[in-house]
């Protein structure tokens, strides 16, 4: 168990005093659960029999032919709920029960984490309140209805930019008042210690499986792995197992309307160091330290911060970072749908768009893995409005 609360200089625990003891308790409980055979067996069983792990590593024949390299998709879109988020919410909900907490709260952007928390709450018998920005509620109606159907309460957030950042603010305000009986299921590798470590640990199953599957199919490790980055949970879940391997790891951020327009969500590409939601990380902010409004076609990437571990891996040069515009993501959304019969989430479409870009530099024997973090059914309406669906 990691003793430090930081990754290099990043991370820490910048939280209101009221939450400190809860975070220390959480850290202890997570440390115990991490080595508790019974807990791990329960988690493993529920991931296999309920959530549908392992997810396939799909070799994409059409795309491989088109791009001139060997292209694989890690199919987190096939996980129950339609995204990688359930790996983390099942882990945290089990942990909440392990700690004797009787209620779950969560924030959500695209709605995938909210849905995944609602699913975990339903199956494990814990009531769930989900905070969601009013702007995101308007553009992710399907997921709002799914959460309600799953028995969760969806609480609209009207403050600030009415997106993911504000949903986190409101969830934190709830938690400060309810910390005695409530566990905050944070959805990404952000926030105060131990969240970045804990969420990465629960998501690491993605990279573990990918590594094994690639060795089995190809007899060697991939050359390049791409994942989209909002807060960074699917990216860290994928990258973690490959950190010590000679594999190019590329995090792809929301370029929005272009990095030069200021309307984007690319904290690793264009941010500076700062403290938001409990941790020091790269951050989009103005000269005085006020947090910037962000923009992305993908609600799940529309966030001004990014995980501390990703910040560290970027600073140390271990990972590459790139940004993809709304337009390019929308094109990739259509490309994968047509070519492979798989509709990707707009978030994951960012990783695909960058894969299309870098394929020119790869040879026929090079292996490229793209983490397909979620399915795109939730985005079809939004894509159609923006001309991303053929007429």
């Amino acid at each position: 168990m990691q003793k430090s609360t930081r990754f290099g200089p990043f991370g820490g625990r910048y939280v209101p005093e009221t939450l400190m003891e809860a975070l220390l308790d959480l850290e202890k409980a997570f440390g115990r659960a991490d080595i508790d055979v019974a807990f791990q067996r329960t988690l493993s069983t529920i991931l296999t029999e309920y959530a549908g792990r392992p997810t396939p590593l799909t070799c994409c024949a059409n795309t491989s032919r088109d791009l001139g390299c060997r292209v694989y998709l890690k199919r987190e879109d096939l996980l129950h709920g339609g995204a990688h988020k359930l790996n983390n919410t099942l882990g945290q909900a089990l942990l909440a029960r392990y700690m004797g907490k009787s209620r779950l709260i969560a924030e959500t952007g695209a709605g995938q984490h909210g849905v995944a928390t609602a699913i975990a709450g339903a199956v494990l018998g814990l009531p769930v309140d989900v905070y969601m920005g009013a702007t995101d509620i308007a553009r992710q109606g399907l997921n709002v209805d799914r959460m309600k159907l799953l028995g969760a309460r969806v609480i609209p957030v009207h403050s600030g930019s009415r997106t993911l950042k504000d949903a986190v603010n409101e969830a934190l305000r709830d938690w400060v008042a309810s910390v005695g009986d409530t566990h905050y299921v944070l959805g990404s590798v952000v926030g105060p210690h131990p969240y970045p470590l804990m969420v990465r640990t629960f998501q690491s199953v993605i990279g573990e499986e990918t590594r094994e599957q690639c060795l089995q199919k190809e007899g060697r490790l991939p050359d390049v792995i791409l994942a989209c980055v909002g807060g960074g949970s699917n990216a860290m879940g994928m990258f973690h197992r490959f950190i010590d391997d000679p594999v190019r790891l590329i995090g792809v951020e929301a370029g929005g309307e272009g990095l030069d327009t200021g309307r984007h969500g690319a904290s690793l590409c264009a941010g500076t160091e700062g403290v938001l939601h409990g941790a020091l990380s790269y951050l989009l902010q103005d000269a005085a330290g006020q947090i910037a409004d962000t923009h992305s076609i993908a609600a799940g990437l529309d966030y001004p911060g990014v995980g501390p571990e990703l910040s560290h891996l970027k600073q140390s040069g271990r990972i590459e970072v790139a940004a993809v515009t709304d337009r390019e993501a929308l094109d990739a959304f259509g490309y994968l749908s047509r070519n492979e019969g798989i509709i990707p989430a707009l978030e994951s479409s960012h990783a695909i768009a960058h894969a299309l870009r870098i394929a020119d530099h790869l040879g026929p024997d090079d292996i490229m893995v793209i983490n397909l973090s979620g399915r795109g059914d939730k985005d079809v309406g939004e894509a159609a409005q923006r001309g991303g669906v053929p007429g």
Binding site: Y14, V15, M20, N169, R173, Q290
Partner: protein
């Protein structure tokens, strides 16, 4: 000597600490608000530095922060407001801020600028003692009191750690939750004051949810050295946005009523 230490050294009656967001509704009016609070009998002035993401604050102070930001209240502007207040009085000034604004300016620069603006103490909302080495060093170099919060959830072990590192006063968070007006002082508030009181000689200031004379009296009766009133003051400002003179009159009347309840004799 720091003005906060001097105030508590010279007074045996409890302090009334009044809070307003610097720059609410705009920097110029906010100086007038502060001067009104001081003339009406606030013993220690607490200014909030507006931040885009005020996670510790309830709706009332969130709206005040938005008004201040909309009026162009940068940290530079907040220091200018403090300097303008300092011109006419020696009241201790405490600056409540969020850590990103400190970090972004550079921790040492922030504390130096705060000292030059006449600020005496700085509590940072998201700054548990565990992360505070840098700010305590900068605070000490600038002669500013690093003020820490103690919550009802704070364990005895961490209370001791906080007490060992704090100066000026301890900011007791009276209830679990964000800032905002509440009906009554909770039993947990009284019990928190008693628990901390027996561990330290540092002055204890109770905040979050204190708005009525009865609250102040209950806290002081339990052993608090000060009460901090924020949202109730900010609500008065908000109710009189269209009439500045009425705003000042209402603030004065409210401070008089609260001050009587802390047991302090009018200055």
């Amino acid at each position: 000597m720091n003005r906060i230490d001097r105030w508590f050294g010279e007074h045996t009656t409890p302090a009334f600490i009044g809070f307003a967001v610097a720059g609410d509704p705009d920097p110029e009016t906010s100086v007038r608000v502060a001067n009104t609070l001081v003339s009406a009998g606030v013993d220690i002035l607490e200014l909030g530095m507006p931040f885009s993401d005020p996670v510790a604050d309830g709706p009332t102070i969130q709206r005040a922060g938005q008004r201040a930001l909309a009026a162009g209240t940068t940290p530079d502007e907040v220091f200018a407001v403090a300097r303008a207040i300092r011109v006419s009085c020696e009241v201790p000034i405490v600056l409540l801020t969020y850590f990103n604004l400190v970090w972004n300016r550079g921790i040492e620069v922030f504390y130096r600028d705060a000292r030059d603006a006449g600020i005496d103490g700085i509590p940072i909302v998201h700054m548990p003692v565990e992360e505070s080495d840098g700010v305590r060093e900068a605070a000490s170099a600038a002669g500013i009191a690093p003020i820490f919060l103690v919550a009802p959830t704070t364990s005895v072990v961490r209370q001791e750690a906080i007490i060992a590192r704090a100066s000026g006063f301890l900011y007791l968070v009276s209830v679990l939750g964000v800032t905002g007006v509440r009906d009554r002082v909770a039993e947990e508030t009284v019990s928190l004051i008693r628990r901390v009181r027996c561990r330290t000689g540092l002055p204890l200031a109770v905040g979050f949810g204190i708005s009525k004379p009865g609250h102040a009296a209950a806290c002081c009766g339990a052993g608090a050295d000060a009460v901090i009133v924020g949202s109730a003051i900010v609500e008065i400002i908000e109710r009189h946005l269209d009439d500045e003179d009425a705003m000042m009159d209402a603030l004065s009347a409210y401070i008089f009523s609260m001050r009587a309840a802390t047991g302090a004799k009018p200055g």
